[in-house]
Amino acid sequence: MSDVADKHGLPTSLSSIPQAAVPMHDAAAGPDLEPAQARAARFRPDPVIAIAALLALLLIGAAVFAPLIAPFEPDAQRLLARLRPPVGFERADPRYLLGSDQLGRDMLSRCLYGLRLTLLIALFGAALGLLLGALAGLVAGMVGGFVDALIMGLCDVKIAVPFTLVALLVIALAGASITVLVCVLSLAYWAQFARLIRAQVLTIREMPYIEAARAAGATPLRIAVRHVLPNIVSPVIVMFTLNISNLILLESALSFLGLGVQPPTATLGSMVGLGRDYMPTAPWVVASPAILIMLVSLTVMLLGDWLRDHLDVRLRER
């Protein structure tokens, strides 16, 4: 169809179908979208997003106000009330809304505190990893040459060495604390971020608008921040959201090995890990934290998709 469409590598044409709506004579007028209408469309609430936002508020609220909401201390044991099922089941104790675990601790309280800690660890871990990876990837992609080879070499090393070993070493040296754990988790995925971002930078770097910016006299820093970064956010956001779920699982794996958060402190991951022996007889011990993990992942992913679309000016005003 048009030679324009084919610049994007499509052998025939169909990507240009929407262009059929574009006026042929392009003079001054242009596609006059009614701005108010466009703005209204932009803020039209999407039901899925509304639900995700509500979930996010609930989860964050529960995490932040855990000390106020929780009916019990999360670590308080009552061996006489072990493995009570949630309210509504036979043998339930009305004080334990979500039942109690193998040591007679209130599941609801532990879930709330666990959520608090898990969110903290996963969000900060992923954010720190992203920051590290973004910096490495951006520098590697923009500078190229020896620096690129060095950073990519580090990435390969990171991916080749079993992460548990690294975590073990770091925690053995620095001691087990939340701060150390967050730092270790941020190390878990920085290389993936760096590779993704470098690959994106390499593609974007060859775009004519980057050349146009160089021709206009823009400094490399300006090009990186103003032209490259905004154009690579989409895949980065998607990866970030996937990462959060991964980190929740990784944290539970580390806790299981005794490297993560030390018992009796609850995180959602460790609750699932410790509860697995009781699965056949007391499934609620695993079910509650597992459902929470799922809700957190789902919410993060939905919000991530929304954010990605919202940041893309091309999708925003449709």
Binding site: D3, V4, M24, G30, E211, A216, R222, D312, V313
Partner: protein
């Protein structure tokens, strides 16, 4: 023409459901195509011409199209079938066998990991009962038929080992493998250089005579239409606006759109701007510009050869003048343009912009020097950052070079620039995707003008635009030159466009300037054999001047790649006439 048409299309409509609602790509299109006839479908982007082609192959549903209407095809067996209602089995028998198709991109239409012989014999085996060996033999015959030299040797080659023109010949060979009754060619020469295009067009015409097939030729280029068609359908917005035999259509177009389309086509020989007004100061002087790229091989990145992309190029550009730089792909014209901006580092030579030598300048000084020279790029879809508002894009040069200005002052300048290039000031807050290709190119021009540069390097600025919009952008560029006195280095492969724009023309080939002089001189009285060949290849949008069929064997385009240490021969430019220089061997 036979009594009943080979293909008869009635009320073909195709629509797509998009986020923006239903888009009707083709509306109630009807036409007949007789056996052996050549019909061209012309139209600009979005006119539905490619969608029509894919609909006939029934490939459009895979792309999400909904079709209605009737498409009656007379089959080889004599019976007729409605393609619209045919089942998949029937369609598979028809595709590639009775109806074949050639696509635009020879680079992507062939499978890169299979040899040419393998891909050709696959088609043959698919539709005919024969052994792989027989098929391979047949493949060789096919390659010979499309005049590929050393056909037997080519069979074991991979697509990347061939040039674009060669690949398109292979595609044609593949499409003709089963002697189809109808060949649909969707812009088969758009991605090719003019000299190669001329060869391919002549080849298609010759083969059509040999096989006696009908040809449906889809193009946006009126010159190509005049070269090849018997009958023409003009499409716009999915509708047929006019259908006529070739000569009457060009002589007496009935529909206003056809008239507009024909009027917008730049014709070689329409004259160039007079050089009279241009005798002012030199703003750009290039002497002995050389750019070599090393070809490395192996783990140690050993340099095995040098590509002499630009080899000893010298010229001057005066205030308010346009120098056209023409040549085919790979001749080094874009490399020259980019070296002037020092977007790539020249290997040797000197570049003086407004009296300042810019080779060897440090990054800071270079940034300052770039105020005087700006650039417009080919692809308006890729040269604007999609995530930046128009204001941010247009004011970027100001934000870099004129930091003393407030944001408000920059916005005012940008608004003025937009109005200057024929857009509205309130477009500042929009984003590139909201504009058409022509509008985006206007925005790119506004950005290039922001710093009031003395020179603008325009690298194929209108090649990606439809003809009618192309004419508007050319007019805009010329108008800006008259008002602002800016000098253009106008890089293009399109001779007619270069003629319209340029006071002087330089013809490049294999990294060297072969001929340089006033446009009227070079284009009307070319001295160099290559210039003559280039000019002869340009399709003329006039059916009365259709060129005689000359079938050459495919020529491999020469490559400016030389072993390390060896240099291409340089011939001095000799002045044959006032200001008209030609390489010595042709003088």
């Amino acid at each position: 023409m036979s009594e009943s048409p080979l293909l008869s299309i009635r009320d073909l409509s195709v629509s797509f459901n998009t986020r923006a609602g239903e888009v009707k790509a083709v509306r109630r299109l009807s036409f007949d195509l007789a056996a052996g006839e050549t019909m061209a479908i012309v139209g600009e982007s979005g006119s539905g011409k490619s969608v029509t082609a894919l609909s006939i192959m029934r490939l459009i549903e895979r792309e999400g199209g909904h079709m209605s209407g009737r498409m009656e095809l007379v089959r080889r067996s004599g019976g007729s079938v409605d393609l619209m209602a045919a089942d998949d089995r029937t369609l598979r028998q028809i595709r590639g066998n009775e109806i074949s198709m050639i696509f635009q991109e020879p680079m992507t239409s062939l499978n890169p990991v299979l040899t040419i012989g393998r891909q050709l014999s696959e088609v043959i085996v698919l539709h005919r009962a024969c052994s792989p060996r027989e098929a391979l033999d047949e493949a060789r015959v096919l390659l010979e038929r499309v005049r590929i030299p050393d056909a037997a040797g080519r069979l074991s080659q991979f697509p990347h080992e061939m040039s674009g023109g060669m690949r398109q010949r292979v595609m044609i060979a593949m499409a003709l493998a089963c002697q189809p009754r109808l060949l649909i060619a969707d812009e088969p020469t758009t991605a090719l250089d003019v000299t190669v295009q001329a060869e391919i067009l002549a080849l298609i015409r010759k083969l059509q005579d040999e096989i006696g097939m009908a040809l449906m030729f889809i193009t946006h280029d009126m010159g190509v239409v005049a070269e090849i068609a018997d009958r023409v359908i003009v499409m716009r917005h999915g509708e047929k606006v006019e259908e006529n035999a070739l000569r009457p259509l060009f002589a007496t177009p009935r529909h206003p759109y056809t008239r507009a389309l024909l009027a917008a086509v730049p014709r070689l020989g329409d004259g160039s701007p007079a050089t009279a007004g241009v005798n002012a100061d030199t703003v750009l002087s290039v002497r002995g510009l050389v750019k070599r790229f090393p070809v490395t091989k192996g783990l140690m990145k050993r340099t095995v050869a040098m590509v002499h992309a630009v080899d000893d190029v010298s010229f001057v550009l005066r205030e308010g003048e346009t120098l056209g730089l023409v040549g085919e792909s790979g001749c080094g014209k874009s490399t020259t343009g980019r070296a002037l901006m020092r977007l790539i580092e020249p290997t040797e030579g000197s570049i003086t912009i407004a009296g300042q030598e810019i080779t060897g300048l440090g990054q800071e000084d270079l940034r300052a020097a770039r105020r005087n020279i700006q650039m417009i790029f080919q692809d308006p879809y890729a040269s604007l950052n999609p995530r930046l508002s128009i204001e941010a894009s247009v004011t970027e040069p100001l934000a870099i070079h004129r930091r003393e200005l407030t944001g408000k002052a920059r916005r005012e300048i940008a608004a003025g620039l937009l109005e200057r290039v024929g857009l509205k000031a309130d477009h500042l807050d929009r984003y590139p995707h909201q504009f058409s290709g022509g509008q985006r190119q206007r925005i790119a021009i506004a950005r290039a003008l922001a710093l009031k540069p003395k020179i603008i390097v325009a690298d194929e600025p209108v090649s990606a635009l439809d003809v009618s919009i192309r004419a508007q952008v050319i007019d805009l560029l010329k108008e800006l030159q008259r008002e602002l006195g800016v000098a253009y280095l106008f890089i293009s492969h399109d001779m007619a466009v270069v003629e319209q724009m340029s006071h002087r023309v330089a013809v490049m080939y294999m990294g060297q300037i072969l001929e340089l002089g006033p446009s009227a001189e070079v284009l009307n009285r070319p001295r160099h054999a290559y210039t003559k060949r280039l000019l002869a290849s340009v399709p003329v949008p006039d059916p009365a001047r259709r060129k005689p069929q000359v079938i050459d064997e495919a020529r491999e385009i020469q490559s400016p790649r030389y072993p390390v240490g060896q240099r291409p021969t340089r011939l001095p430019l000799v002045e044959v006439n006032a200001g008209h220089f030609v390489q010595a061997d042709a003088a």
